[in-house]
């Protein structure tokens, strides 16, 4: 019994994991930093979606292009640029008035527009300077396999506080997304909690910008959360599910990207971010068809 089963498993493993996968140190780093950024994005992203801050998250992702391109000019780790710009933008968005429904879209749109203008300038300098020719691609679409070991502590220093915000403020954030008025009556400092959540979103997006790229980081923030909302009915389970989906998509994306070094056209590998985002999209389509928890009682009168 064990013989054929073991042979089958080893065949699957051999097909799935190309030779050298487990020995490659860029792969180890990609799994570690990619997994951390996915975990943070899944957890924080659930609250971004619950609180209707997906657009704010998207704008913060766009703004990380500005920070990333600036950090290449300054020759520092792009993660500093991604996170620094995100936190700054989150603060400005809060000041302009992200708490009011219409003010929220205005604040987001104004800050996003201004930031992207700067990004155009910085990317122009990056691409015209010979030392940073790869900068644009790496900022926009991520650099999972070229993460340096020095980034690990930095990623942890940005990721863990973002997780802590959601863990500590789980109930106040949930209550204020049901009704800000109700939360205020219960003694929740709604504005402070909202600002903390926005900062956590900025940090999560900056980690995703490093791994799957600034353009695609919204997909990692919003996608797993959207899948989780289709599959589960409680806030706790939705958060856990989103985290699991995000990490699974990222790790499977790393595996497939490593495999793709043997694929056409040029045998130098397809982008990891393509696989991660494609897997999340496929997951969303599947959840839409097979999940349906949210639609269970819509026919009721």
């Amino acid at each position: 019994m064990a013989g054929p089963a073991a042979a089958w498993v080893s065949t699957v493993l051999r097909v799935l994991f190309a030779p050298g996968f487990f020995a490659s140190s860029p792969v180890h780093l990609a799994l570690l930093v990619g997994g951390l950024s996915a975990l943070v994005c899944g957890v924080v992203g659930t609250f971004a979606v619950l609180r209707g801050q997906s657009y704010a998250g998207h704008a913060l992702a766009d703004l990380s292009v500005t920070g990333g391109s600036a950090s290449y000019l300054a020759s520092i780790s792009p993660l500093w640029g991604f996170a620094g710009m995100g936190v700054l933008a989150a603060g400005v968005m809060d000041m302009i008035g992200i708490r009011r429904p219409r003010g929220r879209d205005l604040a987001t749109g104004i800050v996003r527009g201004a930031g992207l203008g700067l990004a155009a300038l910085f990317l122009y300098f990056d691409t015209t300077s010979s030392s940073t020719t790869g900068a644009a691609i790496s900022i926009l679409f991520g650099s999972m396999f070229t993460i340096g070991t020095g980034v690990v502590p930095l990623a942890a220093a940005f990721g863990l506080p973002a997780l802590a915000v959601v863990v500590v403020l789980f109930r106040p954030l949930l209550l204020s997304s049901v009704s800000a008025e109700l939360a205020a009556v219960r003694g929740v400092r709604v504005r402070l909690a909202g600002l903390a959540c926005l900062l956590a979103i900025a940090l999560a997006v900056s980690l995703a910008a490093l791994t799957v790229g600034a353009i695609l980081s919204t997909a990692l923030l919003v996608g797993p959360a959207a899948i989780a909302l289709r599959l589960t009915s409680t806030p706790g389970r939705a958060t856990l599910t989103a985290a699991v989906v995000a990490v699974a998509a990222t790790w499977l994306g790393v595996v497939l990207a490593y495999d793709s070094f043997t694929w056409p056209p040029s045998h130098d590998g397809w982008p990891v971010s393509f696989f991660v985002v494609a897997l999340i999209f496929a997951g969303f389509v599947a959840a839409q068809f097979f999940g349906g928890r949210g639609r269970a009682r819509t026919e009721r009168s």
Binding site: R171, P172, L174, V178, V188, S233, A296
Partner: protein, 303 residues
């Protein structure tokens, strides 16, 4: 002018010693005034609510109902006067108030079950992850049963009907055992039957849990059978007492500052003002009056 009349008329002033209010008042609004952006929203509003009383806060849109509720909740500062809850001013008393807001933002996508929302009423302001406990589960289950919501306890709130959502919100507000329950227009988007069910439920819970209720509505008729007393707001001024004391032509005319008629049409109360050539219904069930009792109240459908 209206305030003077309202406070001069002994019937319209509900002092602490009002009959049917044993012991100290749960809520005392003592000459509260609010000015917002140079506009006087509330003027010298004074009334009190005794333990276990069911009080309707009646007035048309813009009369100041929401501002008054926000004042009691501490979301709005009084320009003058004072609010005392169970004899205590400020934030101390507010832990004793449960609140059902007019609108909650929960669509079917939100992974929040009825049970989760009620649990948030117990500990929604606490930090850290919610840990399951038997005591908490029993409190939530008991509250859901008390509002007849056990049947849909595990459904997402966004999938429930308006009446079912109101039950869950009432359970959310009551699970922390407040002394006073405030509801902001809870009947606004309900059909007549659901509205009557909610009122009957509130009247029963008021007795069972010994909680006082202040419920705002622009329509007083559905509340008439349940109300112990009424606070009638018009133009930021209030008259309060039993419905017989307040819903009178002299009291309401003084409150509005011009003459109004109070009509009793087939058990429904209509408050009507002369407006140019026609009439304007200030309070009462316009649609029912127009549709069902056209013979008796033809003028109400005139502009």
């Amino acid at each position: 002018m209206a305030v003077k009349v309202a406070s001069r008329n002994p019937a319209a002033v509900s002092g602490d010693g009002a009959p049917g209010a044993p012991g100290a008042s749960v809520l005392e609004v003592d000459g509260a005034g609010v000015t917002l952006g140079g506009r006087q929203i509330l003027t010298d509003v004074r009334f009190s609510i005794g333990a276990g009383e069911f009080v309707g806060l009646i007035g048309s849109n813009g009369a100041g109902k929401t501002t008054l509720l926000r004042l009691i909740l501490g979301l709005q500062q009084a320009t003058s006067g004072a609010i005392r809850i169970a004899g205590r001013a400020g934030a101390h008393g507010r832990g004793m108030v449960g609140y059902v807001p007019q609108k909650i933002q929960l669509d079917a996508d939100m992974p929040v079950r009825a049970r989760d929302l009620v649990a948030l009423g117990l500990d929604g302001n606490r930090l850290g992850l919610p840990l399951p406990s038997r005591r908490k589960r029993e409190a939530v289950d008991g509250m859901l049963a008390a509002v007849d919501a056990s049947r849909f306890a595990n459904e997402r709130v966004g999938n429930l009907s308006g009446g079912e959502q109101q039950r869950v919100m009432i359970a959310h507000a009551l699970v922390s055992k407040p002394r006073l329950l405030l509801l902001d227009e809870p009947l606004a988007n309900l059909d007549i039957r659901s509205a009557q069910e909610i009122i009957a439920l509130l009247a029963r819970i008021t007795r069972e849990q010994q909680v006082s209720v202040l419920i705002s509505a622009h329509e007083m008729n559905p509340l008439l059978p349940a109300m112990d007393r009424i606070v009638y707001l018009a133009g930021g001024r209030a008259a309060s007492g039993t419905t017989d004391e307040v819903i009178r032509e002299d009291v309401l005319s003084a409150l509005y500052g011009h003459h109004v008629d109070v009509l009793n049409v087939h058990g429904r109360v209509l408050v009507i003002a002369h407006a140019g050539e026609g009439f304007e219904v200030l309070a009462g069930d316009e649609t029912a009056a127009a549709a069902g009792h056209a013979d008796h109240a033809p003028a109400v459908i005139e502009p």
